[in-house]
Symmetry: C2
Subunit: 274 residues, 2 copies
């Protein structure tokens, strides 16, 4: 199996249909889908497209935001979509401090970080049985600590594993994303600890200096500061054999011709990841 998967936000301007075509054209066997793109294409149509192309769906992005108001209904819909797509996992970006809106000035919000983390545990307890019943694996994604306030109060792999621990690994796993975790002095120990909990391995580089919008600091492998080899090795030694998704949020990559992006991605993947 070729492990390389295109996370469709790497070619953000492509629709699901275009991204599926792109994968076929470039010999990529798996795709990570985003819910809003799936909704635009239509869920049933997306299922047909990926099946027809013989693609595996390496992840659906994303559920989560469990610290926001009434998160459960939308997460159940996300789980249903992941089930329909037979996605390897539903990526869970758990949310930041209650009331903090990504990219917006602070309004009314809570500084209670411990409380926010408790909300994540509570939400997960509600959703895990629902996911298990539908054969969907939730994948908790620790995000870089610079996103703690506005996107994810899960900031390290160790912490994500603590949250996952009450559940079977096939129901609640974790995402290992090089961008978010490369700096962590404990990351190798935690990848080994994760073992069968690793539900997704996402790769991209960490740009330095960061761009003005830190959300777009993800670069093509080789364009930033990450030493991928030890991370690749650790994930393989932990037993992970699933897809390796390239997920890049980057203004220059988004502005480039998506076919060129895929060509570069395959070449960098061959050099630095495979």
């Amino acid at each position: 199996m070729n492990q390389l998967s295109l996370n469709q936000w790497t070619t953000r301007r492509w629709t699901v249909a275009e991204a599926v075509d792109g994968c076929v054209r470039h010999g990529i066997e798996a795709i990570g889908l985003w819910r809003q793109n799936v909704a635009e294409q239509g869920l049933n149509e997306t299922v047909k497209l990926v099946r027809g192309a013989g693609l595996r769906v390496s992840s659906l992005c994303r559920g989560g935001f469990l610290t926001g108001p009434e998160p459960l209904a939308d997460n159940r819909r996300a789980i249903d979509e992941a089930a329909a797509l037979e996605a390897s996992c539903l990526v869970m970006v758990v949310g930041g401090l209650p009331g903090v809106v990504p990219g917006e000035p602070l309004g009314v919000f809570s500084r209670d970080l411990a409380g926010a983390r408790a909300l994540v545990a509570e939400g997960l307890a509600e959703l895990a049985p629902y996911a298990a019943d539908r054969g969907v694996r939730l994948a908790l994604e620790p995000l870089h600590p610079m996103y703690c306030a506005d996107r994810a109060v899960l900031s390290t792999l160790g912490q994500a594993l603590d949250f996952a621990e009450p559940y079977p690994p096939e129901v609640v796993g974790v995402v290992v994303d090089t961008f978010h975790l490369w700096w962590d002095p404990g990351v190798f120990d935690q990848i080994a600890r994760a073992g069968a909990r690793i539900a997704s391995y996402q790769v991209c580089d960490f740009l330095c200096p960061l761009p003005a919008d830190v959300l777009l600091g993800r670069g093509m492998m080789g364009d930033g500061v990450i030493d991928f080899a030890p991370l690749n090795r650790a994930v393989a030694e932990a037993g992970y054999r699933g897809e390796i998704e390239v997920e890049i949020f980057n203004a220059d990559v988004w502005a480039a011709d998506p076919d060129t992006v895929l060509t570069t991605m395959k070449s960098r993947y061959a050099d630095l990841i495979a």
Copy 2:
């Protein structure tokens, strides 16, 4: 003792002489100095000014950058300066990946993060005896993980404590800075573990969204997302009784009248820290 200390970069446009005057005018009993400002004022003149004003020097910023070329000579000078100033500690920002220059595009550099961390341990082993002989306390500062590549490969308090462990606490301590550490799920355990190793407590807020230059994401207490009370309590319970420095890198704060900044700082300190 009033624990409040002005880190002079909070009033960056002030010279040492002006900052000393400002502290006296506002009843602030301690100051954190920066080496370049001390050099501009002259070391002997600075010693006279702070002595004459009866100020304690809560820190000298900064030594470190141990991952760069030939770091020892400059660090020995920094230690000598800290000794002359009778500073409570010399803050050590240990440096990023070798060859990565803060704020500059990547050139020739090393991605070997483990190797960079080893350089920090080696440099510390050279400098600790020199500092001990002069009665200077080195204070290892873990920086927020977003600065791992370009400023400090020490990213958590736990990791800083691991590096400090071979040395007596009065020779190698650590800095607890709210901006850098607030997100860490292990921070309270590590503050308790730090105990007598805490050489400096620095406070400022974490702004959200971050500004375009992430170095300037430090805000006045109350302007960002940090819940200070549990951190203040943890540091006090760990036994720390030294100065609490307000260190803010922020374009708006730097543009404001420094006397207004000090008035706001005292008021926010009274409300959120003291």
